[in-house]
Structures are given as structure tokens and as C-alpha cells.
Symmetry: C2
Subunit: 303 residues, 2 copies
């Protein structure tokens, strides 16, 4: 394993060593079986103070409430219009604690926010947002909040015959405009939450005001199997919602289960809320915990 | 376009010329946009006298009715146990005519037939069947009922930068054991009808007795978009259920819409039942109709 350091943004340590050894061991595995899956929010890029898609939707909901006063008394339009970030934070916290009541309200609003819009038009809106909006506190564009070491890991895996898939709780069509550019993951390897689509004779495909499925928790292994038809060798996540996906990795081949620990308040954020169960399982089962503070030599790249 | 004939199993004619010209025109299209989608049953391999998956399920239902007499009075177990192929034929005919009542009964039986089975075990059962069972009338193994010219077309497209996807009404996990070997289509590019899956803590994933979605008609473009995130340049089918998928092909790029016409009773089968609307649309819109009799120099390969 001498020669050029292929993970220069990783500090030497147990995590880096485990990755290098894992990839070494998979050199005997048939290439088509070298499947890696990664959660997005909090694993490949920032999810604090709110997931990027939440910011996108917040702006859209505020825009809708701005033109329709009746919406200003109803969640989630009310919170968006009043810039009530605490309500959105509460939804996330409750979700990770297993209570999805407010998450459903939010996701209902999400689906309704773009109801009737053609799929290409939705992607264009997401594309425009992702290429212009900035992270609220980090002083960076959203295009620059990917974790450099994770992007390096994706490239390193691909060089070693892996196909990388994103398995995100965010919507697939929301992420797709930037996954190739930011993560080297092509559109057809982006798995995410879905909105029910409606096909109209003649070829038009539009979004309905209805959530299809929330790609989180047990839905992640279900979607991985349905889409890829294989269990992954490597699964990476950062929260309780990723636990089933990590469990789902193969046990009859070299495998790696990786949890990103947010312990770097100086360079990113420090939180374990919503990750308690996953961290306990990692501790119990010997899964690899990546400390952003200790294992990441750099967090964000320069552009 | 001189040199080696890359489609030797195609007779010279309008269809072959249209394919060669289409591929030539797409050389300017970015490689990642070169997406082709193909129906399976009746487009890439035989679907008469019954789709291959129907034979698989028939045997399983008969096996279940053999061990549980109560099932012998209920469809679809009754028809399977009595080898009542007419009932299954009726389901298909009604389905193509837009009546899915019996199709739902059948698919309910299908889902129940493998309920509680782990996804890997189901794939193993399908694999064993597809590698051993023979077509009931053609004197060939199922592994040998792919249409050679279509397999050639898939390879020709791939050589020219296309990614080929199967978009089948049959189940994805049923098809997956043989799609790479027979069609050069990897597991993660197989889209098909789905069964609801259940994830159990610890990593086990099993099939429930419930159909997820039937990947036919308008569901095909919906799945194509959800899975691939792009409209295809080329869409190939053979029946009314493929019509929305063909309509869905891009109109702002070179595109090709292809319908396989079963008009060769001598070498395969002759039928237009279930394809009337698609053929009428092809006639109206100038879609390419491939005559098996006239355009296919050979239908099936030698092994």
C-alpha cells in the first residue's frame, strides 16, 4: 500500500487504515459486487442547521405564503413565512426520535409546494437554487459544503472498481442536479425520497401533492435492494435513519460500515442528536466511527 | 457507416437503416444522455404462449395447491393446479384491453406465492428455474428464447456509449439472474414490477404478500424517471403497455421509438392482440415498426 497517498484529506489513524485495508481485501471480490452506498445529509455534506433541501423548500413555502395569505396560519407554510427555524429543527429532532407526525406535515407541504410542476421544471428549480444559495452560517456556497475526505473516499472507491450510490432522505430529483459534479455520482445512482408522479398522455410527467416514500430507516435497505439488486459491501451514514442500511451490508464478503461522527464544532458542527442508536450499535458491533475532528485533515475544499 | 456489419442478424431494410442512422446522429449527444429503455416480454424475448414469469409462478402455485387442497378452488391456484392455461391467457388479454381485475387476482397470487421468502432466496429460485426450464412449444430452453437481433442491438448501442435499461412488467428480481448473461444488462439497470418488501432488524429482507406496483403503462415512464432521472433517447416495446414509455422518449434530441411486430408464425408467433393501440400510434406518429418476419434475418441464436 505504498506510493501516493490516495486519501490525503484523511489523518493517519484507525479510520483511514480500516478504509485502505477494506479496499485491499475487496480486490478479490468480483467488480460487479463492489457496491457502496452513502447517506447524503450529514454523511457527504452538511445537514446543519437544517438539511439543504429544507432551505430550498422553506424558501418555496415562504414564497407561496407570500402570495396566499390563507397559508400563513398553516404549517409548514407558517413556519416558513415567519422564518421559524425552530419548528423545522423540532421536526428533525422528533423524526430521529421516531416521531414522524410533524415530519408528515412538513413532507405534505413539501409535496404540495411543487404540485403540478413538470419533473424537468422541478429539477431546473433545484439546480438554480443549489448553484446560487449559500449555507446560512459557514460562509460558503452550498456547492462547497461537501466533506472533502468523503469526496476523496468516493473517488478512491470508484478507482478500485466500486459503484457508489447515494441513498438519501432528501428527494432524488432535488439532489440530482449536483451529484455528478459534487460527488461523482451519476443520476441513475441517486436514490432518495420520492414524490408521487403523474403521467399524462403525450409524455408530460408532473409531481403530485403526495409523498411517495420517505427514504429513511428500513426504507433504505428496501430501496437499495429494489434499485441495485445487491447488498452493499460498504455502507456509510451518520444517523439512526442509516442504521438499517448499515446492518444490511453483506456479511459474507469483506464489508465496511462507517458512521460519520459530528464532533467538530470549530470546523463544522458538533451534535449526536438523532445518532444515539447508531452510535450505540457501532460501539456494540465494532462499526467504524469516523471522527470529523480527528480523522478529517480538512473538512471543506477550496475552490 | 462502412466496414463490418454490426447488426448481421438484421435484414437490410428501413428498420436497420433507421437504427444505424439514429446511432450516427447520437454521436453528438453527451454520453450520459444516451439512455435506451426496452420492454422485456415480447420485445427482448418470447412472451407467448405465456410470459416466462407466468410459467415460473404457475409451477409454484400448482406446487402450493398440491400441498394445500383449500387453494384448489381459488384463483389463481385453481388454474395453476388444473393446468388451465386459458385462464392465464384471458388475464393477459384483458390486461391489454385495460381490464386489470383478473390481473390483480393473479398478481395477488403471485405475491402470496413467495410471501415470507428472503430476497436472496427468491432470486435463487428464479435463477434455478430460468437455467433449467424449457419453452413449452419452441423446443428451446428459456435461456435461448432471446431475440438475437435485439441482443445485437443492445450490444451495438452499448458500444456506442448507450446505457441500456430493461423496463419490464415482469418482476425485477425474477429477471435479474439472467439479464447480464442474456442481454448484457446489469442488475441495477433492471426495472420491473415490484413486490412489497419487509425489512427486519438485523438485516433480513423478505417479500410480503402484496404487489408494490405493476410496471406497465404509465408506470413505465414514472419508473424510468424515478430510477434514471432522464428521458430515454431510444424506447423499444411491443404492446399497448409500452405506449407511454415510447411517448416519453426525448423530443429535443435524436430519438427512436421502436415497436416489435410479431408477424412470424413460422419462426416465433403471430399476434397483435394487446398491441393495437401501440401500432395505431406508431402508424400515426411514424414510429419504427420492426417486422420479425421481414427485419430479423435470424430470430433465435444457436448455443
Amino acid at each position: 500500500m505504498g506510493g501516493k497517498d490516495q486519501l490525503p484529506s484523511w489523518n493517519d489513524g484507525a479510520a483511514k487504515t480500516a478504509i485502505l485495508e477494506f479496499v485491499e481485501r475487496t480486490s478479490e471480490v468480483p467488480v460487479e459486487e463492489r457496491v457502496a452506498v452513502f447517506d447524503a445529509d450529514g454523511t457527504l455534506w452538511c445537514e446543519q442547521p437544517l438539511p439543504v433541501e429544507a432551505d430550498f423548500i422553506l424558501r418555496r413555502l415562504a414564497e407561496l405564503a407570500g402570495t396566499d395569505p390563507k397559508l400563513r396560519d398553516r404549517q409548514p407554510w407558517k413556519a416558513a413565512y415567519e422564518h421559524d427555524k425552530k419548528w423545522f429543527g423540532k421536526v428533525i429532532t422528533e423524526h430521529y426520535a421516531g416521531n414522524d407526525t410533524d415530519a408528515k406535515t412538513l413532507l405534505g407541504g413539501v409535496a404540495a409546494a411543487f404540485a403540478g410542476i413538470g419533473v424537468e421544471d422541478f429539477v431546473a428549480k433545484s439546480d438554480a437554487f443549489l448553484r446560487s444559495a449559500r449555507h446560512p452560517t459557514l460562509g460558503r456556497a452550498y456547492l462547497d459544503v461537501a466533506y472533502t475526505p468523503m469526496v476523496e473516499l468516493l473517488a478512491y472507491l470508484e478507482e478500485n472498481g466500486f459503484t457508489n450510490h447515494m441513498v438519501s432522505g432528501s428527494g432524488a430529483d432535488f439532489m440530482r442536479p449536483i451529484t455528478q459534479e459534487m460527488f461523482g455520482i451519476p443520476l441513475d445512482r441517486v436514490i432518495g425520497s420520492s414524490t408521487v408522479l403523474e403521467y399524462a398522455s403525450g409524455g408530460r410527467l408532473t409531481r403530485k401533492a403526495k409523498l411517495g416514500f420517505l427514504d429513511d430507516g428500513p426504507q433504505k435497505p428496501i430501496e437499495i435492494w429494489s434499485r441495485i439488486g445487491r447488498r452493499p459491501l460498504l455502507a456509510g451514514g451518520n444517523s439512526n435513519g442509516d442504521l438499517p442500511m448499515l446492518e444490511f451490508a453483506r456479511s459474507d464478503r469483506p464489508s465496511l460500515r462507517l458512521l460519520v461522527l459530528h464532533d467538530d464544532a470549530g470546523r463544522e458542527f458538533a451534535y449526536t442528536s438523532g445518532a444515539e442508536k447508531a452510535l450505540a450499535e457501532a460501539d456494540k458491533s465494532g462499526w467504524m466511527v469516523v471522527s470529523m475532528k480527528d480523522d478529517f485533515a480538512t473538512v471543506f475544499g477550496e475552490r
